[in-house]
Amino acid sequence: MSTTTTLLSRGRLKEGWMFFTFSYIIAIIYALAIAIPVYGLLTASLKSTTEIYASPLGFPKTMDFTPFFRAERAARIIKAMGNTMYILIGTEIITLVAAIPAAYAVARYRSKLAPATETVFSVGLLIPFFALLLPVYLTIAKLGLMYTRTSLMLFYPATRLPLSIIILASHMRGIPQAIEDSAVMDGASRLQVIRHVFIPLTQSGIALILIMNFLAVWNEFMFAFLILNNKTRTVQVAAATLLDAQTPDFGLISAGVIMSSIPVILMYSFFQNKIVANMAEGSVKG
């Protein structure tokens, strides 16, 4: 008995040792595959063009911040960040104003319309919105909203509604009916119930939606690229114009990437665990 246990545990230990050595090796390889380009990106933004050309991976001899100023001059990134913020705030407000009552209706109404509505929105999760480039472009043109930031403040919320409604409805189903009933008995209207009972009790879901919308809107490129113009363009579009030069200047490009990513990096460094765990969980529910 004791020998078999020892044998088993010894076999296990041996295999465990091999498994973890192998894991460490490939994890380190992947970590290097990330670290080297990111190091190249960070240092290139502090080097002069000639220095990058001479040694792309050398450590910067002097801290030279001029690539940032040149990137800003060439692409007007800060102004574009303002456009992104404007579209972002509009998207956040419109998404919540539309999604909260809809999620309440879907979660609480016993009519057959409720599951049907939820299905209509769930189907949206399957559609790659990218495929709708041309028809969305035409719709926005028909509305007379070409080149305006307003156009994306209508389109982005529409793309965010499926996931938002599904997340909020699943949070709302967890709220006991008794709480709602007692509010109704006290004479509260539907909207008052939503405002004073459901919104406070689904705060974590709302926060998650706000964060995920932030990331999606901040990083969206293609629709903004096609619909906006030089004055209204967003930060991703502005930064990407740095690629247009005949001979790409990696210092300039790096500075653009770093500037345009700072808000997202801050967001992730505060909420990383929450975001990924919820994305994983939320996507399974959908």
Binding site: S111, A131, T139, A277
Partner: protein, 294 residues
């Protein structure tokens, strides 16, 4: 009577509550979707030009168009390489990290770095990696190997696009699996481990069936992305060059609509790729959906 009034009244409130969401969604997603189907039956060469109804001619043309066939082939290669290249290391790393061995926090931070970059940001970074005098060639020179012009060389261009598209997604998928495996109750697989079950078997025979739903979700997300969404990387890195070697279906859709101005035809490309994508997603869902999970 009162009952009926209350019922119709409740139907009305329901509609009022969902109205803002429904209007936005119908106007900006459902209508464009239907319009895509409609437009695909027209010959339409430029927004200011007239449309001409041609039925299914655009769809027939798809099969005779060498450009489309090339795009389809490139997307197939991207899918067959990019999908396993992202998801298998992702699952492996997620499983490894959840043991919280020394250094796992550092790995998590590292793996998360590329997730924080946007698609445009990743493309810009890879422009610098693949430049003739860029990061990759510098590294190759260190080990005495000859560099090349990765994005301009027809034999490496598509692989370079796939690398740029997969690079960061491994990190995202590792974090995804790390979160999912962490949410599985440990008791469910600890017993198997104590009985001497090796890591390979533990990972694929015990943990995998427990998280197969999430595995399916990730496969669907990646399918959607590779088939259509990855076009931005192509657009920013190569614009389809050299000789169409990097044109994927998503990029072809964009290119036919906005560059070649074959508006009706481009929508047939879109409908075709949607049908392919939805079919693959349906099959994935069929095989990865566990019925015991509510």
């Amino acid at each position: 009577m009162t009952l009926r009034i209350r019922k119709s009244n409740s139907k009305l409130t329901f509609l009022l509550l969902v109205a803002p969401a429904l209007v936005l969604y119908l106007g900006m997603i459902v209508w464009p979707f239907l319009n895509m189907l409609i437009l695909s039956t027209f010959r339409w060469r430029g927004i200011v030009r007239p449309k001409e109804f041609v039925g299914l001619v655009n769809y027939i043309r798809l099969f005779k168009d060498p450009g489309f066939r090339q795009a389809l082939g490139n997307t197939g290669i991207h899918y067959l390489i990019g999908l396993p290249l992202g998801i298998l290391p992702g699952f492996f790393f997620g499983y490894f990290l959840h043991f919280r061995k020394p250094g796992h926090n550092l790995f998590r931070i590292m793996f998360f770095l590329p997730v924080m970059l946007s698609a445009a940001g990743v493309s810009m970074l890879f422009k610098g990696i693949f430049l003739p005098n860029g990061i990759l060639n510098t590294l190759l020179q260190l080990v005495g190997s000859e560099g090349r012009h990765w994005l301009a060389d027809p034999s490496t261009a598509l692989l370079s696009i796939i690398a740029a598209d997969t690079w960061g997604s491994i990190g995202f998928q590792s974090m995804f699996f790390y979160a999912i495996i962490g949410s599985v109750p440990r008791e469910l697989y600890e017993a198997a481990r104590l009985e001497g079950c090796g890591h390979g078997a533990l990972q694929w025979k015990i943990v995998f069936p427990l998280i197969i739903d999430s595995f399916g979700v990730l496969l669907m997300m990646r399918t959607k992305h590779i088939l259509i969404g990855s076009a931005q990387v192509v657009m920013l890195l190569t614009g389809g060059a050299p000789k169409g070697k990097t044109v994927t279906i998503g990029f072809y859709l964009y290119d036919q609509a906005f560059v070649a101005q074959r508006l009706g035809y481009s929508q047939a490309v879109g409908v075709f790729s949607l049908i392919v994508g939805l079919t693959i997603i349906f099959v994935i869902r069929l095989y990865t959906r566990r019925n015991d999970l509510a």
